[in-house]
């Protein structure tokens, strides 16, 4: 029966897997092998978990608000709120998403950072998404 492992953000100590090839001629004492436990890259698991969680939240949010007529309902939708709860960890994920597909997801950046990229107030969503992506790539947006 298949099982699903839900990997919460791990708090494992960073460890290293050590592999040794040992040859024995029969007479020599076997060298001691350090049987360290399997060590995992903490960052890798956290990033994978975060990306997966973010993707799920965005998909659900888009489905739930696709035909929504009111901005207040779009940004108060429960999955959008969960994206906001990811706080600054979500910034690079949002940037990648709006770089590929400009959308009102950019509003999450306004709320998380408290900043705006609209200088004239007449930019379109596509234009401000490009501004955010450019600012991030130039290191002008702090994430974590």
């Amino acid at each position: 029966m298949p099982f699903i492992i839900d990997l919460p953000p791990a708090n494992l100590k960073k460890q290293i897997t050590k592999i040794e090839h040992v040859q024995s001629n029969g007479d020599q004492m076997m060298p001691e092998i350090e049987y360290g436990s399997l060590k995992l890259d903490n960052d890798l698991f956290e990033n994978l978990y975060l990306q997966d969680k973010f993707n799920s939240l965005v998909k659900l949010w888009e489905e739930n608000t696709m035909f929504e007529s009111f901005i207040s309902n779009i940004i108060e939708e429960e999955n959008f709120k969960k994206i906001l709860e990811l706080d600054k960890r979500a910034i690079p994920l949002i940037i990648n998403k709006i770089d590929r597909e400009p959308s009102v997801l950019v509003w999450a950046l306004n709320i998380i950072t408290g900043r705006s990229m609209g200088s004239t107030g007449r930019e379109t969503i596509e234009q401000v998404c490009k501004k955010w992506v450019k600012a991030y790539r130039e290191g002008r947006i702090q994430n974590v």
Binding site: M66, F67, S69, F70, I75, V104, W107, G121, T124, I125
Partner: protein
């Protein structure tokens, strides 16, 4: 292609009555620069939704301007929609049938709450066809106002019309 079968099916899934509407057509891509209420008033650079009077227009989010015009109350309802469109020269009318020389709008409500507005086209081969902006999503044409009655937007609650003369 904007009027692709994939896009059409996404919309029909939510608005089942469009399945049998021969006039149903997606005419523009998803555009978050305006919503259905603004579109019904022929405005395409602003979201019209209720806002506190001291916050109009509101530009707190990038790429979008929000407004609630004519100093109407901070309430999204059939009452305030009627008030806004009265300011625009509309009067309440009986139905959504096309009348030459008039443009019409329809308001939708679900469980007593206003949800959506659509407008009727008046020129050329599309005269009489209805047009709806689906949130930040597609702009569509549909044959009757009733074609987009659904769990999403409820039912047509009110029609208004304005003379074009």
């Amino acid at each position: 292609m904007i009027n692709s079968e994939e896009n059409r099916q996404k919309i029909i899934k939510a608005f089942q009555k469009l399945k049998n509407d021969n006039s149903f057509k997606i005419v523009d891509r998803a555009n978050p620069n305006y919503n259905c209420i603004a579109w019904a008033a022929n405005v395409t650079d602003c979201w019209w939704e209720s806002l506190p009077k001291e916050n109009r227009p509101f530009k707190g989010l990038d790429g979008v301007k929000r407004d609630w015009p004519f100093n109407v109350d901070d309430e999204f309802s059939l009452r305030t929609l009627t008030e806004i469109f009265t300011h625009l020269g509309y009067v309440i009318c009986e139905n959504g049938e096309y009348e030459k020389g008039y443009k019409k709008v329809a308001f939708y409500a679900k469980d007593g709450e206003a949800k959506h507005a659509a407008r009727q086209l008046t020129s050329g081969k599309d005269a009489g066809v209805w047009s709806s902006k689906l949130g930040s999503s597609f702009l569509i044409h549909h044959g009757t106002a009733e074609s987009i009655e659904s769990k999403v937007y409820g039912e047509v609650a009110l029609f208004m019309k304005k003379s074009m003369l």
